[in-house]
C-alpha cells in the first residue's frame, strides 16, 4: 500500500489535482491457473495476514422463476458439509485459528472469501478447509431440510418489512421477467421445492474452474499465490466459463404502486434499468450521480429533501453496474402524511437535474471529492481485495485503478447531461410507495 503514497504526492502538487497523470496504485499480478481459473494477486507483506476470495458467475440471475432460491442455497450450503468435514468441523477448523470465512451473493456473482493469519500453519489449515468447501461440497440432505425451514421463516418475516416489500415490488417493476427481478433468496413456494439434486446440478453448471475468479491479497509470495490458486480450483467441476445474463429491456412503462403498511413511514423507491459495468457512459453517470444523490450530505437530493425541509433522514440515489444494467434507484423514507410532498420534491429535483445537468461548480466539487478521496478507496487489504474481485469478474482492465482518476477528471457537464438523458427518462420510471398515505392507497397510474 505504500505505493499509494505516490498518488498522494501527485495529487498534492497543487495544479496536478486534475492532471490525470499516471499514478501509482497496487501492483496487480494476473495469470491463469492450470485449472483454468483467472487469478488476481497483490503481494503485500506489511501485515501478517492473507485475504482470498473466489467468485463464480452463480448469483441469483442464474436462477429460474420456477426454482428461485437454488443459487443462494447452493452457496449457503457450501460450508455446511464437505468431503471429510461436517458443518461443525468446518466452523471449528476456521475458529480454532481465528480465520474468517464468509459468503458473497449478488445477482451476478456468488463466492466465498477467507481472511486468515499468514503464518504457515494457520494459513494452510484455513486454505485446506476452503479448498474442500469449494471443490467437494456434499449438500447434506438433513442440512438442506433445516436450512429450507430457516430460509422460509426469514422470507415470511421479510414479507412484513416495508423495505423488503418495496425492494421486491421495485425489482419486478424495473426488470419485469428478466432474472434481475428474481428475489435474492427465492420465494416461499420455490424454496419449499428445492431438492438436493437441484443444488448439485447448479453447482456443476456454475462453479466450474474456467469461470472462477481468484483474488489474493496480502502476505504471500507469487509462488505461494500460484500454488494457492491452483489448490483452490484444480478440482472444481470442468467448464463453466460461458454463463451470461440475458439483455435487459431498457425502456419501461411508467408505473406507480402504492402498497399499504402499518409502519409510521412511507418507503419510496423510484428507478429504471441503469447501466452495465462496461457501459461507455460509466464515468459520466457515476460522477453525475454524485451530484444528484450519491454525494452524501452535499448531494442535491440531500440538500432539498433533508437539509432544506427536514423531510427525511436518508435520501440517496445510485447505479448498480453489473454484467447487464442493474437498477438506477432513488430512495427515501418519510413520515406517511408527508410522503406525497417528498415524492413530488424528489421527482422535481430529478427532472431538473436531467434537464440541465450539474453546474460547472457542482462538477468541480464532485471531482474534488472523488479524486481527492481516491486514496481511501485502496487504503486497506480488504478494499484492495474487493477491487481485485471486481476487476477479475467483470474483465476490467488491470489498469482500472491507475486510470480511475484520469477518467473522472475528463468528465464534462455536457457528457453527464447527455448520458443521463439517454439512461434516465423521468417520464418512464417505476415508483413504489410502501406504507403509502392511507386514503390514497390503491394501484394507480
Amino acid at each position: 500500500m505504500t505505493c499509494a503514497k505516490l498518488l498522494a504526492a501527485a495529487l498534492l502538487s497543487s495544479a496536478a489535482l486534475f492532471s490525470g497523470s499516471a499514478l501509482a496504485t497496487p501492483h496487480i499480478q494476473h495469470w491463469q491457473a492450470a485449472s483454468g481459473a483467472r487469478v488476481y494477486f497483490v503481494e503485500d507483506h506489511d501485515l501478517p495476514m492473507l485475504d482470498v476470495a473466489v467468485d463464480f458467475a452463480a448469483g441469483s440471475a442464474f436462477d429460474t422463476a420456477g426454482k428461485s432460491g437454488v443459487a443462494g442455497m447452493t452457496l449457503g450450503l457450501l460450508d455446511l458439509g464437505a468431503e471429510g468435514l461436517s458443518e461443525d468441523d468446518i466452523s471449528r477448523t476456521m475458529a480454532d485459528i481465528g480465520a474468517q470465512l464468509s459468503g458473497r451473493f449478488e445477482p451476478d456473482r456468488a463466492g466465498m472469501s477467507l481472511r486468515t493469519l499468514s503464518s504457515v500453519a494457520e494459513r494452510n489449515q484455513a486454505l485446506d478447509t476452503l479448498a474442500q468447501v469449494l471443490q467437494h461440497p456434499l449438500f447434506p440432505e438433513a442440512v438442506l431440510a433445516r436450512e429450507k425451514i430457516r430460509l422460509i421463516a426469514g422470507l415470511k418475516e421479510a414479507e412484513t418489512k416495508p423495505e423488503s416489500i418495496a425492494d421486491k415490488a421495485f425489482n419486478k417493476a424495473v426488470f419485469g421477467t428478466h432474472p434481475y427481478s428474481l428475489p435474492a433468496s427465492g420465494e416461499v413456494d420455490t424454496v419449499e421445492k428445492i431438492q438436493r439434486a437441484d443444488l448439485e446440478a447448479f453447482y456443476r453448471a456454475h462453479y466450474g474452474a474456467n469461470g472462477a475468479v481468484v483474488a489474493i491479497m496480502g502476505d504471500v509470495t507469487r509462488a505461494e499465490a500460484e500454488a494457492i490458486a491452483q489448490k483452490l480450483t484444480a478440482q472444481l467441476p470442468p467448464g463453466g466459463a460461458s454463463a451470461t445474463v440475458p439483455p435487459v429491456t431498457m425502456q419501461i412503462q411508467p408505473s406507480e404502486q402504492r402498497i399499504a403498511h402499518p409502519a409510521t413511514q412511507s418507503h419510496i423507491l423510484i428507478g429504471v434499468p441503469g447501466m452495465a459495468r462496461d457501459d461507455p457512459d460509466y464515468f459520466p453517470l457515476y460522477v453525475g450521480n454524485y451530484v444528484l444523490g450519491g454525494g452524501g450530505f452535499v448531494s442535491r437530493l440531500m440538500n432539498e429533501v433533508r437539509e432544506k425541509r427536514g423531510l427525511a433522514y436518508s435520501v440517496y440515489s445510485y447505479f448498480m453496474p453489473m454484467q447487464q444494467p442493474g437498477a438506477y434507484q432513488i430512495g427515501l423514507q418519510t413520515k406517511k402524511d408527508q410522503a406525497d410532498e417528498a415524492l413530488q420534491l424528489t421527482r422535481a429535483t430529478l427532472r431538473e437535474f436531467i434537464a440541465k445537468g450539474p453546474t460547472e461548480k457542482e462538477l468541480i466539487a464532485a471531482k474534488q471529492n472523488i479524486i481527492g478521496g481516491f486514496p481511501m478507496r485502496i487504503d486497506s487489504n480488504k478494499k484492495i481485495l474487493d477491487y481485485l474481485s471486481v476487476i477479475g469478474f467483470y474483465g476490467l482492465p488491470l489498469t482500472y485503478l491507475d486510470d480511475f482518476v484520469g477518467k473522472v477528471d475528463k468528465v464534462t457537464v455536457a457528457q453527464i447531461r447527455d448520458a443521463f438523458k439517454r439512461h434516465v427518462n423521468p417520464d418512464a420510471m417505476a415508483t413504489v410507495i410502501v406504507g403509502a398515505p392511507e386514503e390514497k392507497t390503491e394501484h394507480a397510474k
Binding site: Q100, L155, N171, Y313, Q329, Q368, N369, M376, D379, S380
Partner: protein
C-alpha cells in the same frame, strides 16, 4: 448517526511473529494541552490517509428526564454552522478536500470524525476546533433538523420491531440508571425539545477539557501535537457540570414484558445485569464474561448455534452479547428467534438449559483456546483498519479507562480460566437478575404477499 452497544473487540497477542508485527504498528503517542484536551496519535504509514476523531465525554447517560435525546440532537446541530462557517459548509469543505465525515452518539460519548488524505489534516482540525467553541444553533435550523431526527427515530426504532423491543426492554431492565433512556430520545421529548436545550447542552459539555482528540494514520505525532496546539490550544477550558453518580439498585425478581409489533416471527431477549470493567488490572469477572460470550456465540460452532440452531433446531437465529467497556452498569444478553413450530417458551427453556450446562459442567479447555485464538487473530486483522484502531482508543478514553488499558485488556483476557468462566456463569445468570422481553408478532393487513430478502441500501 447513533451507535449503541458499540462492539468492542478485545484482543490479545500470543504468537511471537504476530507480536513483533503488532508491536511495529503499535506506536501510540499522547499529550495533554494546557486547556485539558488530550491528544492521542496512532501512527500508521501504510496509506497516505488520516482519520481525525474528536470524542466528547458526554452522551445520553448525562441527560435528564424530559430532555432525552438532546446529546444526539446536538450532534446533528454541530453541522449547522458557526460564526464563520455557514450551515452545511462544514460538509462541503470536507467533501471538496476528498474527505468523508460523520458523527455518532452513544450512551457514553459523542464523537465526530473525518477521513482524508493526510495532507488535509489541518483543514479538518481548523473546522473541528471551530465548532468546539463557535457553534451557533439557530431556531430555524433547529426546527428543520429536529424533524430529521424524528424521521431517524421512526426509521431506526418505531418501524423496526427488534429495535423497539430492545428499547422497551432497557426501559424495564434499568429502573433508575439513565441507560433506561434511548440514545435517540423518546418521541415525546423530541416533540418538545428546543434549540435552547441544545445550546445549553453545548455550553455545558463541549469543552477541550471534556474531550479527546484521536488522530490515526500517515502522520508524525510531533507534527500532530503542533497542529493540535495551534487549532485547539487557544480554546479555553470550562468548568464542567457536576456529574451526578448514577447507580442501579439490585433487581429483586424476574421482570417480563411483551411488545406487540407488525412482524411474522416472535423474538426473545433475556438480559442479565452484569458488571462493567472499572479496574482493568485488578478485576477478572468482566474478562471471564467476555470469554463466556465468545464460547456461547463467538463462531458458527459455538454452543448456542451448534446446539439450538443446528442440533435441536429450536431456533432459526440465536446470539449472546456482553459489553465490558462502558461508563455504567452493563448487561449480558441472550437472544433468538424460535424455529417454525417452536415457541418463545421452548427457546427460553433451551437457553436456560445451556446456562444450566455451563453452571454444572463448565467449559472445555478447547473452547477456551478457540475463543482466545479468535481474539489473537482479531488483533492482527484490526491493523487493516486505521479507523477502527482510532475508535478503540477514543472509546476507552471516553469512558475513563484510557487507551493504555488496551494491552492490559489483552493480557487479562488471555489469563481467563475455565473455572472463572463457570464462576461468572453461576454468579450472574440468576433469575432475580433477569429481564425477559418477547416480541408478539402482529399481522399486517392489505400488503402484497411474497417480499424478498434483498439487501436494503442505507446511506448514513
Amino acid at each position: 448517526m447513533q451507535i449503541r452497544w458499540l462492539k468492542y473487540l478485545a484482543a490479545l497477542v500470543v504468537f511471537p511473529a504476530i507480536l513483533a508485527s503488532a508491536a511495529a504498528h503499535a506506536e501510540v503517542f499522547e499529550k495533554t494541552l494546557s486547556n485539558g484536551l488530550k491528544v492521542v496519535v496512532k501512527e500508521d504509514h501504510r496509506a497516505p490517509v488520516v482519520v481525525q476523531q474528536v470524542w466528547y465525554h458526554v452522551g445520553s447517560i448525562d441527560e435528564l428526564t424530559g430532555t432525552t435525546g438532546v446529546a444526539h440532537m446536538l450532534e446533528h446541530m454541530m453541522f449547522k454552522g458557526t460564526k464563520t462557517v455557514p450551515p452545511g459548509e462544514f460538509s462541503k469543505r470536507i467533501a471538496a478536500a476528498g474527505g468523508r465525515e460523520n458523527a455518532f452518539t452513544n450512551d457514553d460519548y459523542t464523537a465526530y470524525f473525518q477521513q482524508l488524505q493526510s495532507s488535509k489534516l489541518p483543514l479538518a482540525m481548523q473546522l473541528e476546533s471551530d465548532r468546539m467553541r463557535n457553534l451557533q444553533v439557530s431556531d430555524a435550523e433547529f426546527a428543520k433538523e429536529v424533524k430529521v431526527v424524528m424521521e431517524e427515530r421512526r426509521m431506526r426504532t418505531d418501524d423496526e420491531p427488534h429495535s423497539l423491543l430492545y428499547e422497551k426492554l432497557m426501559a424495564v431492565a434499568y429502573q433508575e440508571h439513565p441507560y433506561r433512556h434511548p440514545v435517540i430520545g423518546w418521541m415525546d421529548d423530541l416533540l418538545v425539545l428546543t434549540a435552547g436545550d441544545t445550546r445549553n447542552w453545548y455550553k455545558s459539555w463541549y469543552a477541550p477539557n471534556n474531550a479527546t482528540l484521536v488522530v490515526a494514520g500517515d502522520v508524525k505525532a510531533d507534527e500532530v501535537f503542533k497542529l493540535a496546539q495551534r487549532y485547539y490550544g487557544p480554546i479555553p477550558a470550562r468548568k464542567l457540570p457536576l456529574r451526578k453518580p448514577h447507580s442501579e439498585l439490585p433487581q429483586v425478581g424476574i421482570k417480563r414484558i411483551v411488545v406487540k409489533a407488525p412482524a411474522e416471527l416472535p423474538y426473545l431477549v433475556m438480559a442479565y445485569h452484569a458488571p462493567e470493567l472499572r479496574d482493568p488490572e485488578k478485576e477478572w469477572k468482566p474478562y471471564a464474561l467476555e470469554v463466556l460470550a465468545g464460547i456461547l456465540d463467538g463462531n458458527e460452532s459455538a454452543r448456542l448455534n451448534k446446539s439450538l440452531v443446528r442440533e435441536q433446531q429450536l431456533a432459526s437465529e440465536v446470539g449472546a452479547g456482553y459489553e465490558s467497556t462502558s461508563r455504567g452498569p452493563t448487561m449480558f444478553t441472550l437472544e433468538g428467534t424460535p424455529s417454525t413450530g417452536k415457541s418463545v417458551a421452548d427457546l427460553e427453556a433451551g437457553l436456560r438449559q445451556q446456562i444450566a450446562l455451563l453452571v454444572k459442567d463448565g467449559v472445555s479447555e478447547e473452547e477456551l483456546k478457540r475463543v482466545k485464538a479468535q481474539v489473537t487473530a482479531g488483533e492482527v486483522y484490526k491493523l487493516d483498519s486505521v479507523f477502527y484502531q482510532a475508535m478503540q482508543i477514543g472509546q476507552l478514553e471516553s469512558i475513563g479507562l484510557g487507551h493504555k488499558a488496551i494491552p492490559v485488556l489483552l493480557k487479562k483476557l488471555q489469563e481467563v480460566t475455565a473455572q472463572q468462566v463457570q464462576d461468572v456463569a453461576r454468579e450472574f445468570f440468576q433469575d432475580d437478575n433477569l429481564s425477559v422481553a418477547v416480541l408478539d408478532p402482529q399481522p399486517i393487513s392489505g400488503t402484497q404477499k411474497h417480499a424478498d430478502m434483498g439487501g436494503s441500501h442505507d446511506l448514513r
